[in-house]
């Protein structure tokens, strides 16, 4: 069994998805989804440990060897991303039960859990596959289920948000297919390792830069890099709270991983950064994303929307790290990918608690909540500190690496932008804190603390964001090793 673990990581959730739909009752479907998530957690942890000990795992699906069959290729970066997805899934699913029962009609709950499992499967698949067309298939599995989960939101604007995401997401995916097709026609292979070997021989042909451009646009659309982020704010604002918490911590992170995989492993550092000068495109966009989106976040009245714009800014940090093209920079990008998943998950889950009790996440409705829901708001404040980058939190660790990467290149202005971005995060988090702790509680309404089933997952993420902030050696070690293997290219 253990040698087939790479396939089972995908196949088990994929088989459980229709089961969740067929059992037809919310409780039973939830149990199936929990089984799928915890299985994924076990399998991805086992894979990461094995990759750490033994190096890259290459798994031929159905026994067909690599150039003919589809291959799963798991190195440190992919095992790490798969683990992030699985961890967030396993924490989000107990949270989803209570939250979804409140926000989604009961007869739709089984279908919600089916979509949830499929989305998880797709994201795991993207992170471990070694075949570029397989990437597209998994991308569509995860995206299509994400669209339908967003459309389950209570507000009717959830529908238009899902529609807009569908249009932009499918366009992005089609761009990726065009890029893959152009690579295939030049090299005759879809396997990532083969592509990496053969692309340099044909790199002078004009087709390859065109493929590179299509892939860049398609992937940056999927990861919501400014200015292709337009689908994200509405989708995160109007989706059910559990969906927002899950997607904000996984979907864009996996797209960042795709960016790393395509630019470093397949095209190689030399082509991406020296020939195509990717850093000249990514760095300005990342800097604008950090400044402009943090500024927009400050003026939002809906806290979920505020956090959504903040997510676009945080994606700017990840892309900024990658755009340095150095080991330190890519390490910072990968670290922030993990750290941001923890803290944004916690923040959105805290907002889900507020949504559960008062049915709204507008700032003015949250007056005095610090007294009425002390645990929820404390979680929000602590995760917010991490978003700002206060020492002892994970946010500090990734910003520390990012600033180091900037100073390594003597780019003081870039380091300055990172600092300014942190200050702006302080402003928008403080806006919520001020209202919640210094506002007057409406005496007519009796507001209770959120139930434990919502608070426990939220606090698990909050504690994790301090745990990995105080002792970052483990995550930093994995991220550095992953960055080194990505930059080295294929053996």
């Amino acid at each position: 069994m253990s040698e087939n673990l790479p396939a089972l990581l995908i196949v088990v959730p994929l088989m459980l998805a229709p089961v969740a739909a067929l059992v037809g009752r919310a409780g039973a479907s939830w149990a199936v989804a929990t089984a799928a998530c915890w299985w994924a957690l076990y399998a991805s942890l086992a894979l990461l440990l094995r990759v750490w000990d033994e190096g890259v795992i290459r798994y031929a699906l159905g026994g067909w060897p690599a150039p003919y069959g589809i291959e799963y290729r798991i190195d440190l970066a992919s095992a790490f991303v798969a683990l992030i997805v699985a961890v967030i899934g396993a924490i989000a699913i107990p949270y989803a039960r209570t939250s979804i029962a409140r926000e989604v009609a009961e007869d739709r709950a089984p279908l919600f859990y089916t979509a949830f499992i499929l989305s998880l499967t797709g994201l795991l698949g993207i992170s471990i596959t070694g075949d570029v067309f397989n990437v597209f298939v998994f991308l569509e599995i995860s995206s299509l289920s994400a669209y339908s989960m967003i459309a389950l939101g209570q507000d009717r604007r959830a529908l238009t948000a899902a529609y807009q995401y569908l249009i932009m997401g499918s366009t992005g995916a089609t761009f990726i297919v065009i890029g893959i097709g152009l690579m295939y026609v030049m090299t005759g292979t879809l396997n990532m390792v083969d592509l990496a070997e053969r692309l340099p021989q044909v790199a002078d042909n004009r087709t390859i830069p065109v493929a590179f451009t299509f892939l860049t646009v398609g992937i940056t659309l999927k990861l919501a890099l400014f200015p292709l982020h337009l689908w994200l704010p509405n989708a995160y604002t109007f989706a059910p709270s559990a969906v927002t918490a899950f997607m904000a911590s996984t979907a864009t992170k996996v797209s960042v991983y795709l960016l790393l995989r395509f630019f470093f492993t397949i095209f190689g550092f030399q082509f991406s950064f020296e020939r195509m000068q990717l850093d000249m495109v990514l760095m300005p966009l990342a800097l604008v994303a950090i400044l402009a989106m943090s500024l927009v976040a400050i003026y939002q009245a809906n806290v979920k929307r505020l956090l959504a714009f903040s997510s676009v800014a945080q994606i700017g940090y990840m892309v900024l790290g990658i755009s340095f093209g150095s080991v330190l920079g890519v390490t910072a990008g990968i670290l922030h990918l993990f750290n941001h998943a923890l803290m944004k998950g916690a923040l959105f889950m805290a907002m889900g608690c507020v949504m559960y009790r008062i049915g709204s996440v507008r700032i003015e409705k949250m007056a005095g909540l610090g007294k009425a829901m002390p645990w929820t708001m404390a979680a929000f404040v602590l995760a917010g500190l991490s978003l700002i980058g206060v020492p002892l939190t994970v946010g500090f660790v990734s910003k520390w690496y990012l600033v180091q990467a900037a100073l390594e290149r003597d780019q003081w202005a870039v380091a300055g932008v990172v600092m300014v971005g942190s200050l702006m995060a302080l402003v928008y988090i403080w806006k919520v804190v001020e209202v919640a702790y210094f506002g007057e509680l409406d005496p007519d309404h009796e507001i209770q603390e959120a139930p434990l089933s919502l608070l426990v997952p939220t606090w698990v993420l909050v504690i994790a964001s301090f745990w990995f902030g105080i002792d970052a050696t483990g995550t930093a070690e994995v991220a550095t090793a992953a960055a080194e293997s990505l930059l080295r290219g294929l053996p």
Binding site: E140, L144, R156, L159, T160, G181
Partner: protein
């Protein structure tokens, strides 16, 4: 000249791609946007199918001689891009179905499927 004609199918791909992409961006009607998306995706399918065609190539089924022996030096078309497109067609159908069902629900919720009117109604809220 013969080069341009020889690439006739690629010209068609580019024209379809631009028609679809333009419709996707410029139209305010949500159904027309989906049609644009579908044309855009279909042009990619045509592109892949063209990749697989090799001049003078036959269908990729082993050609046998009169006595059942394999004939050597036969040029076959590449079947892989075609097979890939079967998957892409399925994905396209699923996307279109999901998109249209969203449009149905948008119509129920807003009473319109025009983007500008929906935005106006959202802003009036």
């Amino acid at each position: 000249m013969s080069d341009a004609l020889g690439h006739f199918n690629y010209w068609a791909v580019v024209v379809l791609m631009m028609v679809g992409f333009y419709t996707l961006i410029a139209r305010g009607n949500l159904v027309k946007k989906l049609i644009g998306l579908n044309i855009f995706q279909t042009s990619v399918i045509m592109m892949y199918v063209s990749f697989g065609k090799i001049t003078g190539g036959t269908a990729p089924i082993l050609v046998e001689g009169d006595h059942g022996e394999a004939v050597e030096h036969v040029v076959y078309s590449n079947p892989i891009p075609h097979v890939l497109m079967l998957t892409a067609i399925v994905v396209g159908v699923a996307t279109l179905a999901l998109g249209l069902s969203l449009v149905v629900r948008i119509k129920e919720a807003y009473g319109t499927i025009d983007e500008d009117e929906i935005t106006a109604k959202d802003n009036a809220q």
